[in-house]
């Protein structure tokens, strides 16, 4: 019987350390490390102002990446998000320029609703093409990526689409530049979106279905889960997240062009992967994704504040980050 007592003892010891899931912790450890590096590079870096700035600027990618977490967890991929931002933003501005509604507040409310609907619609189109059309998500969204981008170019006739009504501009500006209880609105929005997303993914039936479909769609089907519906809804969630990002984007510059959102899909996917979500589906980490988006933005910020790396290398560094994240993920999987 001493043998099993031994076992009980070792298991008690082993447990505390196994409670830490390395994969979940890794992105936050990386974030902490970056903060330390940044502070060493430039003392201004660690200031509350600078950090709030960084967080605010990461809002677009962070919110889009939250949507991507759903799509990727369910085993799909959406390459069209960058083009979708440009397309949805163009429609929103064109609608506000149309003068269809005289009252500015009403007009703004209608524009917000329209934006969400168009975003959801774009996501729905992606979802239906992949599921009902049975086309690989990579190819399907590569196609819609071209379509949304092309439509934007056509709508803008190759130039920019700019919000003209000054009254609307003033009314809408605080949505990006304002603060709530001293916290910049974009940060509040990031938090709200993430909390809702985490709740949906971890605490609802739908979230469980997403993970099941992503880890093994046969098992999901045999368990009576409507696989295609679950996947399609994930694309719709992605579309809505893109729309929310657009709602923050439009008041910032008040204009869009055919080059808006280029390569954002790459950044969103990077944020998701850096955050610890498996690219092959079956596990989603919403908070990790947010952490990943911050990391991307922080790296850029550190490069700007430091003098020894050219900021023109940002793209290359971000590309390297996704590869490193994959390597780290794989080595952690092997160890556990």
């Amino acid at each position: 019987m001493t043998a099993s007592e031994d076992a009980a003892e070792t298991s008690a010891r082993g447990r505390t350390w196994r409670d830490i899931d390395l994969r979940a912790v890794a992105p936050f450890a990386a974030l902490a490390l970056l903060l330390i590096v940044g502070a060493l590079v430039n003392p201004n870096f660690i200031g509350l102002n600078n950090l709030a700035n960084v967080a605010t600027r990461s809002a677009f990618i962070a919110i889009i990446a939250v949507g991507a977490t759903f799509v990727i967890s369910s085993g799909d991929l959406d390459l069209s998000v960058g083009s979708m931002v440009a397309f949805v933003a163009s429609i929103m501005i064109l609608f506000m320029n149309s003068g269809a509604i005289a009252d500015p507040s009403l007009m703004l409310a209608a524009a917000v609703a329209l934006t969400i609907i168009i975003g959801a619609g774009c996501g729905l189109a992606n979802g239906l093409i992949t599921t009902v059309g049975r086309i690989e998500p990579f190819i399907a969204t590569l196609g819609t990526m071209g379509i949304y981008r092309g439509l934007t170019t056509w709508l803008s006739q190759g130039g920019a689409i700019t919000l003209r009504e000054p009254e609307l501009q003033t009314l809408y500006r605080p949505a990006y530049f304002g603060t709530i209880l001293g916290v910049p609105v974009p940060i509040v929005v990031i938090l709200a979106v993430t909390i809702v997303a985490a709740f949906v993914l971890y605490r609802t039936r739908y979230g469980r279905h997403v993970v099941a479909v992503g880890s093994n769609s046969d098992v999901a089907r045999y368990s009576g889960i409507p696989v295609n519906r679950v996947r399609t809804i994930a694309f719709v969630i992605q579309g809505v997240c893109v729309a929310i990002a657009v709602l923050l984007y439009v008041p910032r510059l008040g204009s869009t062009s055919a080059t808006t959102g280029i390569l954002w899909e790459l950044q969103a996917i990077t944020a998701v992967v850096v955050g610890g979500t498996a690219l092959k589906g079956g596990a989603g980490r919403v908070w990790g994704t947010i952490c990943g988006a911050f990391i991307l933005e922080l790296v850029g910020n550190i490069m700007l504040l430091s003098n020894f790396i050219s900021e023109y290398l940002i793209g290359a560094i971000q590309g390297a980050i996704i590869i490193i994240a994959m390597l780290v993920q794989r080595s952690l999987v092997r160890k556990s």
Partner: protein
């Protein structure tokens, strides 16, 4: 017993005081094991006793936490990840792992491809594959993709792969769990032939009759500890079972309970056809256990999947309590209370990377909260209940399903399906990979469900199970129901006659 395996035959592989822990949870306690040249050694024990773990340690797939491995009497550290193959040690895994996108002959020669003038000699490899498969009496096409094979055929390929490698020591972890009796016979013939040549085998199985028939010695493990090693000839099924469970087993099957004739018909299937199944008709009454027997490939699973809405049907009606169930709609089938438990637990049954709770409640999430919101408390309670009810034994409650022992995975799958509280329960191979003690529990459990007024269909390739459990037995052959047997007719010979096509009666 093989006369060559005298007590003096040299020991080729041995484990000395081997212990193993996973993440601080100990699963093997100072186990001793000896394998002699030219013997077939059975390794027995309940689900989770540590058989697969010991086999993995002896073949290098896991390293012992303490203790040593002796190869030909020399302490050895076996190389990991199947590299022990170079030393002549080959393993057929319980949860087999074939690359799905390769053809049969490619996977047979994986890692030791034959070349001629630097170019792959596909012709030779195909011919060689054919030869090995023929020896095993398998009709699998050597050019077929692994992904297109049934589980039984995949198992045959896995066996062919091991046998073709000229090994001195072959570990077989429940190789026959998915095979038909005929395929098993072919396998045993090959195993005996190789034994004559001095190959040693370790054979893990829960089928006591096979162990009695094939093996020379038996080692029994219980709760990760060595219990006994003895020649098979001095043991019998009963005594092995007792050693495994550590207590006396009462009768395996509960008393049969015929539902009364005027009991309502719960499930009615009329003229159902799919691509393969033709014109299947049968009824199941309330409280009845209907068996489905037949050779592998006779269409039982396809028929059941069509009944459960997992597969489309080309003709026919399915109704529950007189209400028709729409075709190809799992949801509709679930709503009227039909549940199907797949026999392919690894690919269709369990999420191998998720924990027990997520698997258990996957099919019944509606029960654990309102408006789509889940209550962790209610889920935890469900897991507690299921673990008790189905005796799911894990040493670490947070283990992912893929790392549970095979038998405990099966119990978890059964528990998962039962969570939906179905009225019509279709169980495809209920006790695949389950030890005798648990088998008995599951049979009693099925019988209790029937007494509660549930209707149960048991699809099984294990004849004793069908005979011991069912009050009526449908036999399928080549996609058709060739007979439905009742009462005295239910016997091994009679069922065999129908499934071999020697006898036939129009379905009732």
């Amino acid at each position: 017993m093989n006369p060559d395996v005298a007590d003096g035959a040299p020991v080729v592989l041995a484990a000395r005081r081997v212990s193993k822990s996973f993440n601080g949870v100990q699963v093997l306690f100072s186990v001793n094991f000896e394998l002699r040249a030219g013997e077939i050694h059975a390794l027995m024990g309940e689900n989770g006793a540590g058989k697969s773990t010991l086999v993995k340690i002896l073949s290098g797939f896991e390293q012992p936490t303490s203790g040593e491995i002796l190869l030909d009497g020399q302490p050895t550290k076996l190389p990991p990840n199947g590299q022990a193959e170079a030393l002549g040690i080959v393993i057929i895994h319980q949860e087999f792992n074939l690359a799905e996108h390769l053809t049969v002959s490619e996977s047979l020669f994986l890692g030791r491809e034959v070349t001629r003038f630097g170019v792959l000699d596909r012709k030779f490899m195909r011919a060689e594959t054919r030869r090995v498969l023929d020896q095993l009496g398998s009709h699998v096409d050597e050019n077929a993709l692994i992904s297109s094979l049934s589980i039984a055929d995949k198992q045959m390929v896995e066996i062919a792969k091991a046998i073709s490698r000229d090994a001195r020591i072959i570990f077989m972890d429940e190789p026959t769990a998915v095979l038909s009796r005929e395929e098993t016979n072919y396998l045993f013939r090959q195993v005996r032939k190789l034994r004559e040549r001095g190959t040693s085998f370790v054979f893990v199985s829960h089928k006591l009759d096979e162990v009695m028939e094939l093996t020379d010695r038996v080692t029994v493990l219980r709760d990760g500890q060595w219990v006994k090693t003895a020649p098979t000839s001095i043991l019998d099924g009963e005594s092995i079972a007792q050693l495994m469970v550590g207590r006396e087993l009462s009768s395996l099957y509960p008393a049969k309970q015929e539902p009364s004739v005027d009991e309502d018909v719960m499930l009615s299937v009329a003229g159902l056809s799919t691509q393969y199944v033709q014109d299947a008709s049968f009824d199941v009454r309330k409280g009845e256990i209907l068996g489905f027997s037949g050779l592998i490939g006779s269409g039982r699973t396809e028929l059941m999947e069509a009944v459960a809405g997992l597969r489309s049907r080309t003709a026919g009606e399915v109704s529950v309590r007189g209400t028709p169930v729409p075709a190809g709609d799992v949801h509709a089938a679930n709503r009227v209370g039909i549940a199907y438990m797949t026999k392919d637990r690894k690919h269709k049954g369990l999420l191998l990377n998720s924990g027990m709770t997520a698997n258990l409640t996957l099919q019944s999430l509606d029960r654990h909260g309102e408006h789509g919101y889940l209550s962790p408390k209610s889920e935890a309670a469900a897991l507690e209940r299921a673990r008790r009810r189905f005796d799911i034994r894990v040493r670490d409650g947070r283990v992912v399903a893929g790392r549970m022992s095979g038998g405990n995975q099966q119990k978890l799958l059964l528990a998962k399906v039962m969570e939906t509280e179905p009225d019509v329960i279709i169980i495809d191979e209920p006790t695949r990979g389950i030890d005798v003690g648990t088998k008995q529990q599951i049979y009693h459990f099925i019988s209790a469900l029937a007494r509660d007024g549930k209707s149960i269909i048991v699809v099984s390739s294990e004849m004793p199970e069908i005979i011991g459990l069912c009050t009526r037995v449908a036999v399928m052959r080549e996609g058709r129901i060739v007979g439905i047997l009742e009462g005295e007719e239910i016997s091994e010979q009679e069922i065999m006659r129908y499934s071999a096509g020697l006898k036939k009666k129009t379905a009732a």
